[in-house]
């Protein structure tokens, strides 16, 4: 596959039914365009990994794409879990949803272990009840000190999808501003799809920018505006009204159905 492709080709070729797909980005660089392509292509039985699960997660869950959600926080702008997610959890609509709940730092440690291709990573035990309910985290002993620590299973997505400001024609990618979990999620994955605001002849990275070399990027898609309604540092600010309005669409199965029909019609 050439590095620079269109969105339908990239999502279609890289994300198969049943795959483990990470879509990362919190408030900034949220890969909405790629997520909507998953909806249009009717991907099913995905394990969706999204630490900060927001409207994007809500849309994929409501559309029936997801059977397992791996997350560490799930909330819309009002601070509450979004309605499609609650409907799936509470009423199996449109399908039952299994969850795997971690903390943000555990998600980061799972990606880091995946990125280094070791089977697990180590964090310190905080006393939270979460490990009693999640099979990918457990207590072990340090072989040197004998102290108890928490082992977390490596997370290796089949595909990680992120959005970035720009890529060059070889497929090297630049992320400016907060980089979140995206760098580690890309390194952890078997394949990485990056949508970008623009493709340029040569990168001219800003101080502090993170560069993802082409060797860790499978496909690049030019998708200007592809993170709206979230923000893209240096390109656009969040569309707060659109983010708030989602609550009304999500609150109602019928209104959500209309959104879904409209989404499918735009392919």
């Amino acid at each position: 596959m050439p590095k620079i492709v269109d969105l339908t080709t990239a999502v279609g070729d890289l994300v198969h039914d049943g795959a483990t797909v990470a879509l990362e980005g919190v408030d900034h660089l949220v890969p909405y365009a790629a997520a909507h392509e998953l909806v249009r292509l009717r991907r099913r039985r995905l394990t969706l990994v999204r630490a900060s699960s927001d409207q994007l997660t809500d849309q994929l869950v409501g559309a029936g794409c997801v059977d397992t959600l791996v997350f560490s926080h799930a909330a819309g702008p009002d601070g509450r879990p979004p309605a499609r997610l609650l409907d799936a959890l509470g009423h199996d609509w449109p399908a039952p949803l299994r969850i795997e709940e971690h903390t943000h730092p555990v998600m980061a440690a799972r990606y880091a272990a995946g990125a280094a291709r070791v089977p697990f990573g180590v964090v310190r035990d905080t006393g939270t009840d979460l490990p009693h309910h999640t099979p990918t985290i457990t207590s072990i002993r340090c072989p040197f000190t004998g102290s108890a620590v928490t082992a977390v299973a490596a997370l290796v997505p089949d595909v990680t999808v992120v959005h970035a400001q720009r890529a060059d024609r070889d497929g090297n990618v630049e992320i400016r501003g907060p980089v979140g979990l995206q760098r580690d999620a890309v390194h952890a994955a078997r394949a990485a799809l990056v949508t970008v605001e623009e493709i340029v002849d040569a990168l001219d990275p800003a101080p502090g920018a993170v560069v993802l070399p082409k060797a860790v990027v499978t496909a690049v898609v030019a998708a200007p505006g592809g993170a709206a309604p979230s923000r893209v540092h240096g390109f656009y600010e969040p569309d707060d009204a659109a983010l708030r309005d989602w609550a009304d669409i999500s609150a109602d199965r019928r209104r959500f159905g209309a959104w879904l029909d409209a989404m499918a019609g735009t392919s």
């Binding site: 730092p105 440690a109 905080t126």
Partner: protein, 256 residues
């Protein structure tokens, strides 16, 4: 200038918890506003680290607090792996904030339940989940919790421990191997609670202007102890309020 909102009072009280020079880890909303307000008022050398990975954000005097200004004024950005591992877990955060989570429970020992109400597998209410609250409460030198004071939320004992505050008493943090002092202050829209040095149980130490102790008791699901010298939160001065409103011109639109 109009009178301060409840959210603004909470922001001032939270800001007063910031000491000069401290490394403060903040998320969106009141915690971020409190830390940057503290830098403008009494703690200019506080190092503000955002949960986005923006390290040492120094807003200029006329900057509003937005994602864009935070990103632009950061000394550097780190990945969340570095933020949580090398900063928080490693003990490099002096003061961590845990922000308000709608529906979350807080108990008399300042433990936080933000995953579920009820049984984990059959919850009566599904809540947003932990974020980094467990690690902030575990590894920061001290923690300030910002939360709305409602009877439903202030429970005798959380149904599910998402984040350990003081466990079941004063020895638990040491037994669990946790670092630092844990929650030292709970800032609500009614007043301030602090753990009793002997028992680690939360005690009411201040009420906000216009709030009386009985109102606070009525919204607390355990037999709330009241400090003998319970204070009334001082009102912000006009200068202080102006400083906050430069930071958060639109804050009155949002719920605390």
């Amino acid at each position: 200038m109009s009178v301060p909102t409840a959210e603004e009072i909470m922001t001032f009280v939270a800001a007063r918890a910031v000491r000069d020079g401290q490394v403060c880890l903040v998320g969106h909303g009141i915690p971020a506003a409190a830390a940057h307000l503290a830098r403008r008022l009494h703690a200019p050398a506080a190092v503000v680290v955002h949960e986005s990975g923006a390290v040492d954000v120094r807003l200029r005097d006329d900057d509003p607090l937005t994602d864009a200004t935070v990103a632009d004024r950061a000394l550097t950005h780190v990945t969340l792996g570095s933020l949580y591992g090398e900063w928080l877990q490693a003990g490099r955060v002096d003061l961590g904030f845990v922000g308000h989570v709608p529906g979350a429970q807080l108990d008399r020992y300042a433990n936080i339940g933000s995953s579920v109400v009820g049984e984990y597998d059959e919850p009566t209410e599904r809540l947003p989940g932990p974020g980094a609250a467990a690690e902030i409460a575990a590894w920061a030198g001290e923690t300030v919790i910002v939360v709305r004071h409602r009877l439903q939320a202030f429970v005798e004992q959380v149904d599910f421990v998402t984040a350990v505050g003081h466990g079941t008493g004063p020895l638990d943090r040491a037994l669990l191997g946790l670092r630092g002092r844990g929650p030292v202050r709970v800032v609500t829209d009614l007043g301030v609670l602090e753990p009793d040095p002997q028992t680690a149980e939360l005690v009411l130490t201040a009420v906000h202007p216009g709030i009386d102790v009985e109102q606070v008791r009525a919204e607390t699901g355990w037999d709330l102890q009241v400090a003998p010298d319970v204070r009334t939160t001082p009102e912000p001065t006009g200068t202080e309020l102006a400083a906050l409103r430069t930071l958060r011109p639109a804050s009155t639109e949002e719920s605390p």
